[in-house]
Every structure is written in C-alpha cells, then in structure tokens.
C-alpha cells in the first residue's frame, strides 16, 4: 500500500471532563499531509497533538470539521467502517510499548494478533510475522517472552505489530519516549525504513525537538491550533483559514497579549510593528 493523504478541515474537538466542564482541545485546525510524508507533531502537554492523532486514527470523532484520509471524510462514517480503516489503512502506535502489545503473547503472536483484522486477500500479500520481524531486524526476538525484553526491544516489537498490517498511514504517539538514545535512533531508523520502503505516511507525536528535527516536516500545536511548521531545519508560521498566525516563541515576548500591531507591507513580505494607543511606534 502506498501512503495515505491526510487532510484536516476546520477541525474542532471539544471534550467534557469528569467534572462536567467542556474543554476545547482543537480550535479549527487545518492541515494537509501528503501521501508518504513524514510529519512530527510537537507541542506542550495539553496542546492537542495527541487528540489530533486520535482523530486521524478514527479513535475520536471531531466535534466539528472534517478529517479526510485519501479524500474520504472519516468523521461521519460508521464504526464498522472505522474498524476496517484501522485494520488496513491506519496503523496506530500508542504511547508506551505495553499498551500496544498483549503482554502474555510472544512478539510473533503479537504481530499475528495485530493483523488478524486484515482482509485475507491482503494478508496473503503481507510478509509472515516471523519474516516481518526478520525484515525489521527483530528475528531473534520472535519467540522471546516480552517480560524478558528491554524497553527498546519492546518498543520495536510494538512498532512491528503496528505496521504489520501494511497500513498506508502510521500514527505514532511518543514512539521514542523513555528510550535510550540508541533505542531512540533505532526506532527512528525503523520509521524511516518503513516510510522509504513502503511509502507509508508517518505522523508522530513527540516532545523531543531532536526527534522532530529528524523528520522532514514538523508541526507545532499550540492551544489547539497549528502554531508553526518546521521544514528542512527552518521554522515557519502558518496562516490559518481566518488569517491568524502564531508569533514564534522567541518573538512573542515583544508582543504581550493586547499589543496593537501595525502591518506594513514590504516588497517581499509584511512587517509587524507594535504601536501605542496613540498610534505611535513603540
């Protein structure tokens, strides 16, 4: 399967807390991810990045807006169709290796379990669990009990399970957290391999700027909105549908909330100047 295109159109997500309060997690997110693209979602805790990932995986349905996978709106489809989507199109790697695995089953059995829902015709084209583990360099782990493995090994088995269905979209939530540097790099290497060899679209959530830097595209979520995007080592602001744009953190101190600004068009762009109440430049 080739990579899946992901598109968000004005996605708003509101959830209700245990105390009965409504909390806005995403505020009109617009995002396009091309097939085969590798994207890192960055942002502080509670910014909405994991929520966005859940929307891509059909785990959550948006309160408003649309989430389109390869142009198909998954926001309003039936649960059974979502299930089919998760069985072959979208692969999710949850935060914490243990949450992606049956702790009592071997790696091979876990991979087998993960692709159980894949249509038989598709499954026949997929590599057998042991072969997949071999291909991903985990052949020696195939029969070992999970309890005897290190955190990195378990995370790699979890990754193998997630991608075993040959999905076109890999959604990974903090795949490198709590891993050593070597294990982190090995995990990123696996992600790149899958992306390169299968054309799988990769969206991963991370707190780690170093991890984000190793992805071709990184999107920073702030307060439920896309704050900025990083491409090829550079950070860019993103203008949303309303024309709003986040001021980068390093410049935000110069523009306290409530600051009046004046836009001044130059030949190759727009200059943003703070002014006082009298309209004078500060």
């Amino acid at each position: 399967m080739t990579g899946v295109a992901v598109r968000c159109v004005n996605v708003v997500q509101i959830y209700t807390t245990a105390g009965g309060h409504d909390v806005v997690a995403l505020r009109g997110v617009n995002l396009d991810i091309r097939p085969g693209e590798q994207v890192a979602l960055l942002g502080p805790s509670g910014s909405g990045k994991s929520t966005l990932l859940s929307l891509f995986g059909g785990v959550l349905r948006p309160s408003a807006g649309k989430v389109l996978l390869d142009g198909r709106d998954i926001s309003r489809i039936k649960e059974s169709e979502l299930g089919r989507l998760r069985s072959g199109t979208v692969a999710s790697l949850l935060q914490g290796a243990g949450r992606n695995l049956l702790p009592y089953a071997s790696p091979e059995d876990n991979v087998e379990f993960a692709r159980k829902a894949v249509a038989p015709a598709v499954r026949r084209r997929l590599p057998e669990p042991r072969r997949l583990l071999d291909q991903l360099g985990m052949g020696e782990l195939a029969g070992r009990p999970l309890q005897t493995m290190s955190g990195g090994e378990r995370q790699r088995v979890a990754f193998a399970s997630a991608v075993s269905s040959g999905a076109g979209l890999l959604l990974a939530d903090e795949p490198t957290s709590q891993l050593s540097h070597d294990d982190r790099d090995a995990m990123l290497e696996l992600i790149h391999v899958v992306n390169a060899e299968l054309g799988t679209t990769v969206v991963l959530v991370t707190h780690d700027p170093e991890v984000a830097a190793k992805m071709p595209r990184s999107i920073t979520i702030r307060n439920g909105r896309i704050g900025s995007e990083g491409r090829h080592g550079f950070d860019f602001g993103v203008v949303d549908q309303d024309g709003a744009v986040h001021i980068p953190d390093d410049l935000a101190a110069r523009f306290p909330a409530g600051t009046l600004v004046q836009f001044e068009e130059t030949g190759d762009g727009v200059v943003l100047r703070p002014i006082d109440e009298q309209g004078e430049r500060t």
Partner: protein, 1082 residues
C-alpha cells in the same frame, strides 16, 4: 489458540478461581437433583425394607378343606387331605400372566397348619406346623431337614425348654370336626381329638428373621421361646415356635398352601413405581376373583400403595427442600462468577481496546473477549459434572441404601444447562460492558468505570420488591405448605437487606468521613473515605450477607428440627434403652435396686397408654429419674433434678420386717354383716424378691381379744409392709361394718414397731364408692389402733349408701401419702378431686386432680408441674412414682400395663446380664439412638440436613469469593496505596486503614446476614414442616436458638477480620511507589 492459552496461564489465579466457582455452581446444580433423586430412591428402598415383606410382597394361599366339614365320622376317616403339591397350582393361579417376575422375587411355596396344640404343665400352647420351600437353607439347622411325614424340626430354645433332642418324639393334638347324626332336623358339629406324633430330626434357629425370604414371620408364632405375650391382658394365647415339617406332614383338616413373592427392592425404582402399583392392584383383583369371594388371608395386608404414596410425598418434600437449598448456592456462585468475570473483563480491557484499535470486527473482538471465560466454563462442565457424579456415587455408597441407581436425570441435565447458560450469559454480559466502551475511553488509561446508576437502581428495586412480595405473601397467606417459599425466605430477606445495607453503609461512610476529616486519625479517615466512595459495596456484601443468612437460618432450622426429633425419641423411648419385660413392676423395681443400688443405670417403669388424658400414665422409679430417664429440658422450666425431688418419696421411713411368722394381737372386734360375710384380716407386703404378697392373717371374730398368726413368705431378708386390710370371705362382695383394734404386732415373737398410732396410718385406696369416700376410719384407741369399717354402708345420713359396691377396708402406713405427686402434661384434661362425698369424705385442695393409677383406679394427684411432654406417654398423660403407686395399686394380672426397664446411657452390659440372671426376661431393647436414627432418616430431616450442608457450602464459597474478589482488586487498590505512600502516609497507617475498612464492610455484611436470618426465623420458622408427628409426639419448640445465631455471627466475624487482614497486607505490600511507574507504562 496459543495466545488464548498464554492468556489463560497469565491470569491463572483469576481463571482458576472462576473455574472453581463455576465448578461449584455446576456441582451444586447437578448434585442437588441427583442427591434429591438418590435420596428419594433411598427412601423408597428404606420404606420398602421397613415394611414387613408381606405388606409389599404378593402372597396367595388356598385352604385345604375350604370350609367343608365331613358329614360323618366315617366320612372324616375316609377323607384324605389333598397333597400340598395338588393345591399349589391353585395358589399360583393369580400370579399368572402378570408382570410380577420383574418386580417381585421368585416364588416360594409354603404350607401352614395352625390347628395343632400341645400341653405343658397347666398351659396349652398353640403348635403350628410349617413347611416353606428352602426352609432348611434359610434356617440354621442342627440335625437334618425333615423329609417325610411325621418328621419335624423344633426351634432350639423350645427344644431346650422342653428337654427334647433329635430322635425324641413330640405329640401335637388336632381337633377334627365332623357332623354327627342329625338331631331334631339339624346337623350337630362334633369334634374328634387326634394326636399326631412327630419325631424330631433336629433343631433350628432363625438367624435372620428380617430376611424377606421368610415373608411372614407370624407363621412361626414365636421365634425364641414359649412366649407369653409381654402385654398382659391382650387376650393372645401363649404360643410356641412352629415345627418345621415336610409337606407330607400336612394332613389336618385346615392347613393352607400358598405362594409368596417378596418385592425385589433393587428392581423397583421411582420410574417403575407406577407400573409396580398397577401390577399389585391387578394381582389383588385376580386374587379376589380366584378366591371367589372367599378368604384371601394375606391380601388385606398388601399395602404397597401407602408405601408408594409416602415415598411420593417425601419426594415432593425433598424436591422443595432441594430447590430451596440449591437456589441460594447457585445464585451466590453465579453472583461471584459474574463478579469474577467482570474483574477478568476489566483486566483484559486494554487488550480488548487493542483488538479494536487493530481494527478487529465486533465478532472478532467478541470472540477474543469471550474465548477465555467460555473456555473456563467449558472446562468446568466436565469437571463439575464429574465431581457431582462422583460425589453422588460416594453419597450413595456411604450414606444411602445399597444398590441405589446413580445417574444424571432430566432435572439434573436441565439444571446443568441452566447454570452453564447463566455462566455463559454472565461472561458475555461482563465482556459486552467492556466491548461496548468507546475506544477512546478504553485507551484513556486504567480508570475504572462506574456502573450505571439507573440500571443499578432498577435492579436493586426489583430485588427488594420481589423479596418483600414473596415474604409478604408467605406471611399473610399463612399457607403451611409453602415449604419451598419458606426455605427461600432467608435468601429473599437477605437480598433486600443487602440492598438497603449497601446504601446504609455508604451513608455511614459519608458521615464517618466528615467526622474523621477534622478530628479522627489518618487510618479512620482513609477507611471512611474509601467506604463512602466504593461502588462495589453491594457486590462484596451480598455474598457474605446471603451466606450468613442462609447458614444461620439453615443451622437454626436444622437445630430446631433435630431438637424436636430428639424430644420425640425421648418421649417415645423414655431412656437411652428400653426393654419390655413380662416380670411384674414390683419385681422389676426390686431387681433394678439390687443390681444398681446407686441408681446410675436402671429404672423400673410401668406404662399404660391405652385411653385418654390421665388414663395415660407412666409410673417410674422416680428416685432414678434424673440419671436414667430421657428428658428434654424444653418440657419444663424446672430442672429434672428438682422435679425428681418433688416426685420421690422418702421410702426409708417405711415399715419393714424380717422373719418367718407374723402375729397380730387384735382387740375389741365388733363387726356385723347383713349377708353373713366372715371377715378376715390380711396383710400386703413386698417380699425379698420385690413381689407383692397377700397373706390372710386370720379370720376375725367378735370379741375383746384375738391373736392371729400366720407364717411369713419370702421375708428372710427384708419385707416392706404396704397394707393391712379387712375383707370378706369372698372378695367379690363385702358388707361389713363395725370396728376392731390392732393392739400389737410381733414378728418371730418379737414385738414389731408398726407405729400403731392413728396419725401413722391412713385409709388405703382404692375406695369402693368414690374417690373421696374411704370405707374405713382410723382413730387412736386406748389399746391400740382402732379401725371402723363401713364396707357396703356408710354411717346413716353420711353420703351415698351403696351396699352393692364390693370392696376392701384397707389401711396403709402414712409414710406413703394419700395424694401422689405427679407431672401432668399441658395437653391433658384434668378434673379436680374435691368432689362432694360422704361425711367421712376426704377433702382436697382444688389443685388436686383425679388421676388414674396402675390398676386403673382413680387416685388424687398433686400436680407438681405442668410439663409439655413426658417420657413414654408423650403430650398426654401423667408421670408419678412407681413405688408409691405399687403400695396401693399393684396391677392385677391382665391389666393393660407394660412393664419396662429403662436403661441409662453408658450402662455396662454386665448390669443388663445381672438383671437377666435374676430371672427377668427382657425383649430386644428399643434404643434412643436407633429411634433417633429412624426419625432422622425421614425426608424432612434428610432435606433439612442437606439444607444445612448447602448453607455451610454457601458460606465457604462466599468467603472464598469475597477473598478472591478482594485479592483481585488489590492490584487497583495498590495504585492508591502507592500514591498515599508517596505523599508520606505510613505503611502501618495504610494497613490499619484497609483493615478497618474491610472489617466494617464485611462485619456489617455478617451482622446484616445474621439479622436477615433472625427476621426469617421469626417470620417463617413455625410454618416450616419439620416432619410428620404422631398424636402424642411433643410439638417442636420454635425458639430462636441464640447459641447458634451468636455462634455463627462470631465465627463469621472472625473470618471477616481474617480476610480483612490478609487482603490489607497484600494491598499495602503491592502499593510501592514503583507501582505508579508500572501503571504509567501500561
């Protein structure tokens, strides 16, 4: 499959627990009906065995002469009795073409002649001759089997008694009947005496009289001796054991030839009952037809229908008890199973979420979630059925009648299906609650869900409504037959109380939290907080509460039932063992005191149970009452020792004497009689052997002085004076008035101190006219003891003048009071003894009642206590001192009194042997234990015992379930414990908090359970059928057995504390700070 097995192994503790609980539910569901059926089969076989074989077997016989009397002596001599073989086809006729071979054993032919007699001394005995097919194999023979006419086997003891041996001859006399010459136009029946001489070929002993092969033991008439019927006066002639003879010896006019078929208990079971009954009915009809309206002899005894009716009724009862016993157990195990599979489903929640995340379809997820619990159930089925069948076999072999068929019947299979279906439904419901959860919530983390408030409320309301409706219906309908509903009451009440209790406990938790938040210690606050927040309070409470209620109720009901049976056995048997004897009460009294001078083992008794109210009486040697006689403390508020004291007289003061001759110096004799009766002075005393003796001292002649002398009999050691009396020369009618004075008494020419003072003597009973009119007045004269006689005529103008009443003028030493102290049952109607009498009438307080003494005469009785029941007479009658009664009322020969030897528990065999050595013949004893065993073997008792066993099993399962549930929850609880430890709460405080919480939770459950049982006992215990009682059986005592209630509560409370400590220590041990990291990593 590999994943499934790996999962099973990983959660082996939980799965093993689920497996165990499911197995228990299956065992309960299957074993209940199997046990019920087994017990019903057992009861069927037991009832069939209990009955005499001739009441359940088929028998038909024909008479040799069929009532035809020869016309003349010549005809009699010419008539040859038909051979037994010639009559057998007729005797077999009603059996033909019936399906009897299937249910009744092979036929056994017989012939019996009961017309013969023989004489020994002055007594004539019946001497039946009996031939039975295979008799020489059935009996133990010394010698050889009779083979030809005139040969006979004699019963061994009889031969010994008669001094006969093999080879000796024995004459039996027959009376042949024929018609003599016609006189005055009518035939006159005549008799001819004919003596048949039998040569003895040996002797026989019947080792197994209970064997159905003998069919009807009455054909022997006696088995061990020349038996005089123990109940004197019943009119039965003495009889001797039958002579066993060859068929050719049957030559009299009136022998019978028959065929018996005892029932084959192994062939009859519950399924074939109806057919057996039908065959028996058809046989009966055929037999009546075959006899052509004539005598069918044993057919009226064929009583199979009543056995079958009894078994059916017992089976119905057992089924009800069985259902009542197993329903709470099955319900409890299903509740526990549901709790366990819910916990298991909770544990597997992340795995189910993972399956959904991987896109598995609903069916796949369901299969994944259900495969494990279903596999547990499927494994449990063969295990449970195997255990149930095995247990049924063990029970059948160990406890029940041999040969009971064991197998799964339809009810057991349906019950199994119901339980398995319930287990599968419980697993499915638990799995579905997890599967239905939104994926996002399932992935959110280890946050436990709360149950639906509305569903929970509806369920709880339904439980309470059903419980209240059921109990209300039972209480208001007053239906005594609602055994099933009554036995289910504790379950209903417990469920209702559990629902209310859970709410109450949470309320208590909230109040407690508020109080401890400001002023209480950390453990109390933590315990209160957890208690108020737990949403599984009902789940934890219900099992223990239900089990406590069912067990307490079952224990109390069984205890009441058993106490009642013990009381019934005590009333029926009267002591640990009771022997009937043909000796006189006086003789037995004497022997028991000789053999057992300390009164530890034996007591003599005489009972008369014919009649109503005070005509039913037991007379016991009350000096041994407390030690020997069986007594239920519930019969009286007073102790038996104090009752004994009130009943026993001081017989040490009685007048005794030793010697060979008695001389009485009589003065001032002035007697007159209109009928010319010559009066005699007599003495009544108890001789050395304890037998009552009457001696005529001499005839009284009017005059100033007369010395009467008589040799004494049996006073070599010590005789006890009972009465002096005057009667006529003929004892039937006495008409004597006048006076005499007893001036002195000498024994062996030595002055005897017979206390000849007016206040040392009193008139003795029975009085001839009425209860209160003595025919004699005693006064002190200058020369001695003056006695005025009014036999046949009272002083003019002083009361009824009934000259037709015969009687005696008796006086007795006043050491024996005129009014006998007695115990009378509350169910006995009494009349006061203070009726109006003559001028010489005795007066009694209103509390004195008119009782009946040993010889059926009325006697004033002072009621010491009104008791609920008495030994040997039950709920109707009186008990008084035998020795006192004998002074005035020795039963004459032929009185309807049974003399019994009461034997205390632990009496050495040598004591009984010593009684026999003194010539007292004793029958086989009736034992309290044996009677109790019989009473405990009825359907009611068996059912209630099962109820108790199931109650105990319910408790064990509940304790196990609660413990398992608490242990399984300890993993989640450990997170909270870990968090509290991180913030600095000490481990000790955490353990104490947890123990406190569980003790309160489980303790309240125990207390509410016991309270539920108490409420149920109050509501329904009196309406529960505890058994079928006889007319005079004591009634059950429906008092709450507090010892049991408090005992069960205390034991359960200890158990609850133990669970609390174990679970709390485990939870706190698991709750390390590292637990939090482990939780975060999923």
């Amino acid at each position: 499959m590999r994943v499934l097995l790996a999962g099973l192994m990983t959660r082996r503790g939980m799965n093993a627990t689920s497996l165990l609980v499911t197995v228990i539910a299956i065992v309960a569901a299957v074993l209940g009906p199997m046990y019920g059926r087994e017990t019903a089969e057992h009861l069927l076989d037991t009832r069939l065995d209990e009955r005499a074989p001739y009441t359940t077997g088929l028998s038909y016989s024909v008479a040799s002469a069929n009532g035809v009397v020869p016309d003349s002596l010549a005809a009699l001599e010419a008539d040859q009795a038909p051979a037994v073989d010639d009559l057998l086809p007729d005797a077999r006729q009603p059996f033909q073409e019936l399906d009897v071979t299937r249910y009744w054993s092979s036929p056994r032919s017989w012939a019996l002649d009961v017309m013969g007699t023989f004489t020994r001394g002055p007594q004539k005995y019946a001497a039946p001759t009996y031939w039975r097919q295979g008799m020489c194999d059935l009996a133990r023979i010394t010698g050889r089997c009779p083979q030809s006419a005139g040969e006979a086997l004699m019963q061994a003891t009889m031969a010994q008694t008669l001094g006969l041996a093999a080879g000796d001859t024995f004459d039996v006399t027959y009376l042949d009947i024929y018609f003599g010459p016609i006189k005055d136009g009518t035939k006159v029946e005549k008799q001819r005496r004919r003596v048949a001489t039998y040569r003895l070929t040996g002797t026989y002993v019947i080792d197994d009289p209970a064997s159905p092969d003998w069919f009807d033991l009455s054909r022997f008439t006696g088995l061990d001796d020349l038996v005089v019927p123990p109940q004197r006066g019943t009119g039965a002639a003495p009889s001797a054991p039958a002579l066993l003879v060859a068929p050719s010896s049957m030559v009299s006019q009136a022998f019978r030839v028959g065929v018996d078929r005892p029932i084959d208990t192994t062939a009859v079971d519950l399924d074939t009952l109806g057919r057996v009954e039908g065959v028996a009915e058809r046989f009966k009809t055929r037999a009546i037809d075959a006899s052509d309206g004539g005598q069918t002899e044993v057919l009226p005894d064929l009583d199979l229908g009543s056995v079958i009716d009894q078994v059916r009724s017992e089976r119905t009862l057992l089924s009800r008890v069985m259902i009542a016993a197993t329903v709470p157990l099955v319900l409890l195990t299903l509740l526990l199973l549901f709790a366990l599979v819910s916990t298991a489903a909770e544990v597997r929640r992340p795995h189910v979420a993972l399956a959904k995340l991987r896109g598995q379809s609903r069916a796949q997820v369901l299969r994944f979630a259900l495969s494990e619990p279903f596999l547990v159930v499927l494994v449990a089925v063969p295990v449970g059925v195997g255990v149930a069948v095995g247990a049924a076999h063990v029970i059948a072999r160990g406890w029940l009648h041999p040969g009971i068929p064991v197998g799964l019947d339809v009810v057991a299979i349906l019950s199994l299906v119901a339980v398995v279906a319930s287990a599968l439904v419980a697993s499915t419901v638990a799995a579905l609650t997890v599967i239905r959860e939104p994926l996002s919530a399932a992935l959110a983390g280890p946050v436990r869900r709360t149950t639906s408030g509305r569903v929970s409320l509806v369920l709880r309301s339904a439980v309470v409504a059903i419980a209240l409706a059921s109990v209300g219906n039972l209480v208001t309908s007053g239906d005594q037959s609602s055994q099933l509903l009554a036995l289910l009451t504790p379950m209903f009440v417990a469920l209702a109380v559990a629902v209310a209790g859970a709410l109450l406990l949470r309320g208590i938790g909230r109040v407690w939290t508020r109080r401890t938040a400001s002023s209480g210690g950390t453990p109390a606050y933590l315990a209160a907080r957890r208690l108020s927040r737990r949403n599984d309070v009902a789940n934890l409470m219900i099992p223990l509460l239900l089990a406590a209620a069912v067990l307490t109720f079952a224990a109390a009901t069984t205890a009441t039932s058993d106490s009642w049976r013990v009381a019934r056995a005590q009333a029926e048997v009267g002591a640990a063992r009771t022997y009937v004897t043909s000796s006189s009460p006086g003789r037995l009294l004497q022997v028991t005191r000789e053999v057992d001078p300390d009164g530890k083992y034996l007591a003599a008794a005489a009972t008369d149970t014919i009649g109503d109210d005070l005509a039913r009486a037991v007379f016991v040697d009350t000096s041994r009452l407390a030690r020997v006689v069986a007594w239920d403390p519930a019969w009286s508020d007073r102790s038996l020792a104090s009752l004994q004291q009130a009943l026993t007289l001081d017989h040490d003061r009685r007048i005794s004497f030793t010697g060979k001759s008695l001389l009485v110096d009589v003065g001032d004799v002035a007697l007159r009689s209109r009928t010319g009766v010559r009066s005699t002075l007599r003495v009544q005393y108890v001789d050395d052997r304890g037998e009552q003796k009457d001696l005529t001292i001499g005839e009284l002649r009017n005059g100033p002085r007369q010395v009467l002398e008589v040799p004494l009999e049996g006073c070599a050691q010590e005789c006890v004076l009972e009465q002096l009396y005057v009667t006529g020369s003929s004892v039937s009618v006495s008409d004597v008035q006048g006076r005499l004075t007893i001036m002195s008494v000498e024994v062996d020419n030595t002055l005897a101190n017979w206390q000849l003072e007016a206040d040392a003597w009193r008139p003795a009973r029975p009085f001839p006219v009425s209860l209160v009119d003595p025919p004699v007045v005693i006064s002190q004269a200058q020369r001695g003891l003056e006695i005025r006689l009014y036999l046949g005529r009272l002083p003019a103008g002083q009361g009824p003048q009934n000259a037709q009443v015969s009687g005696f003028a008796r006086i007795t030493p006043a050491t024996t009071p005129d009014t006998a102290p007695a115990l009378v049952t509350t169910g006995t109607r009494t009349e006061t003894a203070d009726r109006s009498g003559s001028g010489v009438a005795l007066t009694y307080p209103r509390s004195t009642v008119a009782g009946v003494s040993l010889n059926g005469q009325q006697v004033p009785m002072r009621v010491v206590d009104r008791v609920r029941a008495l030994p040997l007479v039950g709920t109707e009658g009186s008990l008084s001192d035998l020795e006192t009664a004998l002074v005035e009322f020795d039963p004459p020969f032929g009185a309807l009194v049974t003399t019994q030897l009461l034997v205390a528990d632990g009496t050495p065999p040598s004591v009984i042997a010593a009684v026999r050595d003194r010539g007292v013949t004793l029958t086989d004893p009736v034992s309290l234990e044996g009677t109790l065993q019989d009473l405990r073997g009825d359907a009611f008792s068996l059912g209630l015992r099962l109820f108790l066993v199931v109650g105990a099993a319910t408790l064990l399962i509940a304790v196990f379930g609660v413990f398992a549930s608490a242990v399984l929850q300890s993993r989640w609880r450990s997170y909270e414990v870990a968090s509290l430890r991180v913030v600095g709460v000490s481990q000790r405080a955490l353990v104490r908090a947890s123990v406190l919480e569980y003790v309160v939770l489980l303790g309240v459950a125990v207390l509410l359970g016991v309270l539920s049982a108490y409420l149920s006992l109050l509501l329904v215990l009196p309406s529960i059928s505890l058994g079928t009682a006889g007319v005079h059986d004591p009634a059950p005592v429906y008092a709450t057995p507090w010892v049991i209630v408090v005992g069960v509560a205390a034991a359960l409370f200890v158990l609850a504390t133990l669970i609390a400590v174990l679970v709390s220590r485990r939870t706190t041990r698991l709750g390390r700070p590292s637990t939090l990291r482990w939780a975060e990593q999923g």
